[in-house]
Structures are given as C-alpha cells and as structure tokens.
Symmetry: C2
C-alpha cells in the first residue's frame, strides 16, 4: 500500500465514532481505494469561514494548513462574484468573452517582462502538463530535471515528474532526479554551488540515457522537499545551469505563488522563469490554473498545436480569480504574509526553537517549516506525525512533508490574523510536550 | 499553422468591426497563439440564458451547438446551488465531506453493475488521463487503441491518443489508430464486423511494435469521427475484440453522456465498459469530471498509487453537478432528448435530406450530424464550413467535424425546446440555398 505521511489508516476504521465510521465506509464503497484522508481521526467538515473549519458536531478548527482558500474560507467577495457571473454567462474561449481577456492582462501585469501571456486551464496538474508540452514543443527535446522528492501533479506526465508519489509511481528514463538543497544537512555556505553541480550531473545523466534536457521544473519553495527557501541563489544557480544547456526553467508556483511567501511570486527578483505554473490559490477553490510565459514560446507552440480546454478560462472561474486579486490587493495580503509570517516565525522560534528536537525553523511569508530530528540527529518522522495528530486533537490543522517526512508544514490561508497566532503557538508547545 | 475546422483566420482580423478587432488583438496579446476562435466572424458573447446567447450589441443567437450547458445557460438551479455551497464550505477530499459521497452514490447508481465507484477530477482531459493511468496500472501494459480521427483531450497523455489534433500533435508508437466506422462509405451491413477486424489488426500492429494493449478508448458516439452511431453492435464488437486480448474497454462519455443520446449513457445496453470517462455537461460549466469504474480496478490502482486532485470533487462543483442531475431527472431531459431529437431529425430530413449534397443525416438523441458531399460523392468540407458560417450570420450556432471535416454538427443544450426547431430548420434550408 502506498505510503502517505499523515494519511488515515483504513485498518483503524473501528476506532472512529459511529457516524464518521459509516461515512468513511460509504466513501470507500462509492469512491474506492485511491482516496486518502488526513489524520488519525479524519475531520468531518460541514462548514468553514475565514480561517476556521467546523465539523459535524459544531467544533471549531483553526486552519493553519490550507493553501487554496487564501482569501478565507467562504469568502463573500468570491461568492458574490461567482453568483453574478453565473447569472450572466459561463462559456468557453472559442467565443470572444471579456472577462478572460481582462484577467489575462491583469495577471500578466504582475509578472516581470517578458512574461506577458497566459494560457488558462483548471488545475495545477493541467498547468504543469501543459508547461511540459510547451517545453518539449519549443526545444524539440524530452528530458526533464526535478528534485528527488518533488511533487508536480497528477496527470500521467505530471506524475512522471513527481517522485514524492512513492515507489509505485514510475519515473521514466527521460526524467532525472537531483537531490534538493537540504538546509540542515548541506555544508554551510555551499548549498547553492552544490545544487548547481548536482543539476550539471543530472544533465549529463540524461544525455547518457539519450535525452537532451527540455526543462528544469522547480517548485520555487521546494515544498515537498521540506520548504528549502533559505537562499534565493539556489533557484538562480539551478536555472542558470539548466539554461546553459538549452533547457527551459519552469517555475512551479502552485505552492509559492499569489503572495504566499510575502512576495507575489516565490521565484524571486533575480531570475525570470521561461514558464510559470499557477494553481491552487488562484480562484480560492474554484478550479482555475494557468501557464504564464513569453510570446515567443507560446507562439512557437501555438502555431503548430492548438490548445483548447473546455473549462479553462471560463468566465465564472475567472470571476473568482479576479475577486481573489481584488482581495489580495485591497487587503494588502502580500504584505500581511510577509509581516505576519515573520512574526509567526519569531514567536515559533522563541516557543520551540530551543527544543533539541527542532533542527531548524524555516519560513517564507506565511509558509513555515519545522524540521524535527531525534537524539542522534536523525530525521524524526514519527515525532512529526505525532505532533500533527496532537495538534489535530487540539483542533489546529497542520501537516508534515519533506524528503524524510519529518518537517511540520504550517501554511495557513493568507488572511490568517495576528490574534490567531497565540492559539497556534500554544498548541504547538503543548503538542511538543505531549509527544516527547 | 495547425488547421482547425471552423477556426477564425487571424489574418482576416481587419474584416472585423472595430470594437471586436481591438478585443481580438488584446486577446492575442495577452493569451497568445495557441487560442482559436470559432467562425469567420467570432461571436462576442456577453450574456446567455436557456438556449440563447447574446452579443455585445444585444443580438440574440440560437445555441444549437454547446454540449456543456445541458440544463440551459445561466441555469438558476445550478446558480443557487453553487451560491449556497460557496457560503458553507469548499474544500478538498482529504477531509470528510458529505456532498461528494452523496453525489458519488447518486452518480454510480445511474450505471449498470459492477460500475459502482467514481473518482472525481476537473476536466474530461484529466478523466481520460486518469483512465489511462488506471488501465496501465491494472494491466501492466501500455498500448492504447483509438480511432483515426479521435479526440480525447489535451493533457500530454490525452493528446497522445487524439490524432484529430492534427499532424503536429505527435502520436507515440504505443498508440494504434483504427479507421472508425464510416456510415456513408462502409459496405452495407458489414460495418461492425469490419470494425472488429480493424481492431484485431491494430492489436497485432501494437504487438509488432512491442506493446501489449492496455486499453481501447472509444468515444461512444465517435463524435470527432463524424458521429458514427448507426449500429450499437459497433461498440460491442470493438469492446469484445479488445477484451479478448486482455485490454480494458474505456468508454469516453464526455460527449455522449448525461442523456445526450436519449439514454443516460451512450455506450448502450449490450455492453458494460471497464472504465467510463465523464466530463463536459456534468456541472453545466463548472469544472467537474469523473472516471467511473469497478472496485477491482480502482482497488488495484488505488492500493499501489494514491490519487489526489485538489479541486476534484470539491463541494461547490459537486453542488453544481447535483443540481444538473436534479434538472435532468425532474425535467425528464433524457426522454426529451430522445423525443425532441427524433422530431428534429424528421424535420431536418424532410427539409434538406433530399438535397444531393446531403449524403446522410445521423442522429442520436439531441446530437445530429449532416454529412455533406460534392457532385462526385467526395466529402465537401468547404460547403460544410460555408453552411456553418451562413448559419452564424443568421445567428444560429452550429459547427462541423468528422474525418473529412464535412459533417455538420448540431448539438444543442438538452433543454432545446420544440418551438426553437422551426428557426433551426429554416436557417439550415436558407443556408443550404445560399451556399449552393
């Protein structure tokens, strides 16, 4: 059975209360074995508002994990924008419709030149998949470089570059895996250079297997690799090495984009990607995603291959996405992510940073990672999982990830208010104590 | 440049009225060359209701083409269901949520045993892509058989089995193409047997190239092949041949499903697919799609590989999909598609069936195809395109498809009322006259 960190173990079904047990059984029966649930005791969500989820018994949960409802669960502005557009028209892009054009202009204006064009799809997976198609078409090559514990999506092509999906998910020979930077284990000060050298080696490896590199696909925050955000030079060195041999640099901003890191885009100011992949937070839960790129790439692809996505860029999902930009801009959520994230990091470091189990606290905006080790310095995934479930018992939702599954992931909606911080910090302190 | 039947030719931009010209230019500038528009003069849609679209000048268009808004453009029930759910919660399937389970039960109850499970995604392309992953995982093979002019979607894997995307869309060696049945050119009475023999040959072809067949993927109405729906034995023979050598039969019901053909599913009563792919009409325009299958297949896949789609099965898209089922059931739209489709076919055959340009009128429910030939019997794609644009000038929206681009496609929303039929028929008669 495929392992998933923080997955509910179906063999423990009998430990659940009766009503949840029946629901989980109905779910298994109608939706099958490919589905997984979070936590030792799954959360049965019936409503949500702002940074809170509520279960079927009326209990309130502090959401410090969801990276989709960035402008808040049940956001009224998104809700009303969707309602208004559903009363007007919802159709595809083979008719001329204004909303998708206006949104494309507004979105691309948030990127540095020459990233001036957007193609709309419905999910981050579709966006990654399309970026791969474009990179292959533009370069005439098929090799792809990704980090060893990367996650980029769930279509056949996206899964083929997502080694974090586990040993039963085949990685084909045209995909080269490089060890991500490791802020705990890399030699001090040499991480970027070492990462660059590993990229070079992966390119050589691809060539030995008969593949020229079409693309380096890199999650800008290396989320599945445990949030490796220590040094902006990491991405730059990697992008430079890949480009030096003719590959495109594809920035996967599904996790890091739309203000999460306290900047609009996580790829940073020093390097402009060839293609940018957007997803999750884009429509606050309505399915909309995109590839942003240069006109020369899109022209080369688009002249030879037409691309059509029936639901991609539909006016309703675009209305949601526009409302999300309104909210981010008018409520200064990028700045808030930067400021509140820094404060949260300070509080968190003060509260648990001295614990010998805490190897490192990493943070970029409102994305925080706490890496846990055991007495001998070995990664402690068991402790991470116990902390995650201790937090869940306290009705605070976080999860874990990383190459060794030993990194606590704290990634609340961007509207996470300062007055929710004490609850999160106290919960962490108690959960650390409880799991010692 | 990739050819698309009924695509707007950007070199004719100067022929458009000023305001549309500017909008098309802005669109090209912000969205790039991969996008295509329909018709000699694209339709600039600003609102829609029922079976009507309205352009920026207030002109009304009769929609006889869109297969997504099956329960009508701007359907109020869908709109209010989405609005209500957006005020409650919209989150992913790693929490327990009721709506997706209830919908999965309701959806799978519409299928014959043993098709009792559903996995939810956002687009038909994602569903096709997932069906391919499941078929490969379950059979341990990678060969796929599709028809020579098939369209199955737009992810890398779905595009690789979509030869209708044109010569610049590469079809890899693990994909075998078979000539679809051709109701005009096949010898009378032998179409099903001949199709079965071609399937056998394609399997042999795959084996010669070193691939065992994992799946036969077949659009149940063979829409891109010109709507080949004459004989239910066609699908059955093909499915039997594929299964005889261990391949799964995957029914692509993105076009034919949810009542379009006057039955819930187009694959018919005589054969039960191994996997069914659903999409377009499922949420009346909200992005939701699914793979329906047997527990044994889903278990075999799901035990070794977890599948997670962030937006797949979210409560808001599920609310739309539930409202679509409510509408189809309470308004008896499956029956309506059957009855109204038959009437439309009769009227249409009476009106233009005697024209020597009409080789055949084919119909299944509210999906009609009119195949056009020239004086010598050759496919007349030019005439088809001119009829489509003559209809558009009359503000009646249809399009064309088929192996030779010579088949008029009439595929209105399922709520198409009887009193709209005369306008459609008169428009067709006039357009035929005008294009002689």
């Amino acid at each position: 059975v495929s392992h998933m960190v923080n997955g509910f173990d179906p063999s423990r079904l009998t430990e659940l209360p009766g009503s949840d047990r029946v629901l989980v059984q109905r779910r298994s029966s109608a939706m099958g074995a490919a589905y997984r649930l979070f936590y030792d005791r799954p959360v049965h969500v019936v409503r949500a508002s702002g940074v809170h989820l509520y279960d079927s018994e009326g209990n309130e949960y502090l959401d410090a994990y969801n990276n989709v409802p960035v402008v808040g669960h049940s956001n009224e502005r998104v809700r009303e924008a969707v309602h208004a557009q559903l009363g007007l028209v919802n159709t595809h892009t083979r008719y001329l419709t204004d909303p998708v054009i206006e949104y494309a202009e507004r979105l691309t204006a948030l990127f540095p030149d020459p990233l001036t064009q957007a193609i709309f799809v419905c999910t981050g997976s579709e966006a990654v998949d399309l970026a791969l198609r474009i990179a292959r078409s533009v370069t005439g090559r098929s090799g792809v470089i990704v980090t060893r514990h990367a996650y980029h999506g769930t279509t056949s092509a996206a899964a083929s570059i997502s080694p974090s999906l586990g040993p039963n998910n085949p990685i084909p020979p045209n995909v080269a895996l490089v060890d991500a930077p490791d802020a705990v284990r890399d030699a001090f000060g040499s991480a970027a250079m070492a990462f660059g050298e590993r990229i070079d080696r992966s390119i050589a490896e691809l060539k030995e297997r008969g593949f020229e590199p079409a693309a380096l696909v890199l999650d800008s925050v290396m989320s599945s690799d445990g949030l490796q955000v220590g040094d902006p030079a990491l991405v730059q060195v990697a992008a430079d090495r890949a480009r030096a041999c003719g590959a495109l640099y594809v920035a996967d901003e599904v996790q890091g984009g739309f203000g999460r890191t306290g900047r609009w885009w996580a790829f940073g100011q020093s390097v402009t990607p060839d293609l940018v992949v957007l997803g999750k937070p884009m429509g606050n839960g309505l399915p909309i995603a995109a590839v942003v790129g240069r006109p020369d790439s899109f022209d080369a692809f688009g002249r030879s291959v037409r691309y059509f996505n029936t639901f991609g860029g539909n006016p309703v999902c675009v209305a949601a996405a526009s409302a999300v930009l309104d909210e981010i801009q008018e409520r200064s959520l990028v700045r808030h992510a930067q400021d509140a994230g820094s404060e949260l990091r300070s509080s968190l470091s003060s509260a648990i940073g001295g614990d010998p189990a805490v190897a490192q606290v990493r943070q970029a905006g409102l994305f925080l990672a706490v890496e846990l080790i055991g007495p001998g310095g070995a990664p402690d995934s068991d402790r991470a999982l116990r902390v995650v479930n201790a937090m869940r018992r306290r009705r605070i939702l976080i999860s874990a990830s990383g190459t060794y599954d030993n990194v606590l992931k704290v990634r609340p909606p961007l509207v996470f208010p300062r007055d929710a911080m004490p609850q999160l910090i106290e919960g962490l302190v108690e959960s650390f104590d409880e799991t010692q």
